[in-house]
């Protein structure tokens, strides 16, 4: 199941674990990324907490945790090469995997069609 937030995160949900990244639209708006800071595995976040930071040449932006949950894995590849987020934001450049406190809460997020409409 693929879901989106109005803050431009995407979530690929398999069982009770969501793989989270930022959308192609967001990556395009940010421009060339030069630095990514990820949370530690094991950390817990509530929906809306700042969980990661991305920095372009010019500015820093927060990446919000899209739902309540615990970080179970982070993607070191985008820390080593932040430009991956620009080249493959909705594929190889995922940010973290989140074990959801309440998987049913994902139903309230946007589906792909609704997100596309949002950024159209």
């Amino acid at each position: 199941m693929l879901k989106f937030t109005e803050e431009h995160e995407w979530l690929k949900i398999e069982g009770d674990v969501a793989t989270v990244g930022i959308t192609e639209h967001a990556a395009g708006q940010l421009g060339d990324l030069v630095f990514v800071e990820l949370p530690e595995a094991g950390a817990s976040f509530a929906k809306g907490d700042s969980a990661a930071t991305v920095e372009s040449v010019k500015a820093a932006s927060d990446v919000y945790c899209p739902l309540d949950g615990e970080i179970v894995e982070v993607n070191q590849a985008i820390v080593d090469d932040p430009s991956l987020v620009n080249s493959d934001p909705q594929g190889a450049a995922w940010f973290f995997k989140l074990k959801l406190a309440d998987p049913s809460a994902a139903n309230a997020l946007l589906d792909e069609a609704a997100y596309k409409e949002l950024v159209a």
Partner: protein, 387 residues
Amino acid sequence: MRQTWGPDLEDISHLKHTPLNALHLSLGARMVPFAGYDMPVQYPDGVLKEHLHTRAAAGLFDVSHMGQIVVRPKSGRIGDAALALEKLVPVDILGLAEGRQRYGLFTNDEGGILDDLMITNRGDHLFLVVNAACKEADFEHLKKGLGDTCDVRMLDDRALVALQGPRAEAVLCELWADVASMRFMDVAEADLHDVSCIISRSGYTGEDGFEISIPVQSAVDVTQRLLEHPDVMPIGLGARDSLRLEAGLCLYGNDIDTGTTPVEAALEWAIQKSRRSGGDRAGGFPGAERILSEFANGAKRRRVGLKPEGRAPVRGGAKVFADAEGKMAVGTVTSGGFGPSVDSPVAMGYVDAAQAGNGTRLYAEVRGKYLPLVVTSMPFVKQTYKR
């Protein structure tokens, strides 16, 4: 995710446009409000490529939002205008030869900086280029200070573009071969595509380059033709900022303002010997007492280069500490970001004089962490001016 730049849609309706506004839009620029103007922050290739292209070939910047001011002596004698302007800037203007340009500062009675500017001796008048956000105030300041002896006129019928980078000379030479004989800070008048332009060999990127003042009716045509050259790319304010930061150059409003003095800002080089204590025309500018005293005794704090040791950029506003626990505050970062040419973060800011020595290790607070950075001489990149 929180988006941090992009125009505030409610605000952009009253923004002023430069003569090149439609050209920026046709080139696919992303526009943002800057100093009351609708300005390109980047073009489709993005800040990183624009920055690196400027260092490798040539970048073209629209700087028409800046103020161009003519100061003409009523007596007809340029020396009268020079002496009048010396009452407002701590700079040697009388000794500025015809066809030469010099960096200067307007100071206030407390020794703070009202604006920084470029001053050119054009033979029968002085030609000033000032910052966009300050230009109305600068104009009033000049009229008040010089109005008795000079006619002060803001030129609103000229655009200004900067062509910067190692290929800038070759590009301009195709239009006017004599440009090759110009040295850094020379100013000349020449026809480019049959348009009379004022060309200075200067800029604000740390690269060799030129600023070109163009009559407004020909601005789009001349700019478009410069852009047709395969070595030239349009560059937005995003890369302008990262280029000047790598070059160690101050941005007015960020790194210098009415609360900073020239000595604190490490701009002593802009105050020539003739205006310092013991010089032929020492003092006589606003704030001279404090500024000359700081020359003699040093300032309490100092603008320095700051090189973060890690990969995380340290932005303007970050507090700087002497220790990794954030107990002893020693200063503030005023500009910081990522330097594409040095492939690492770079920053500058003010620290207490005791911490200002090169090699001093300090810590900047970023998102609750204390990141190590080292006081480093600037520029972060090698300057390539043709002296």
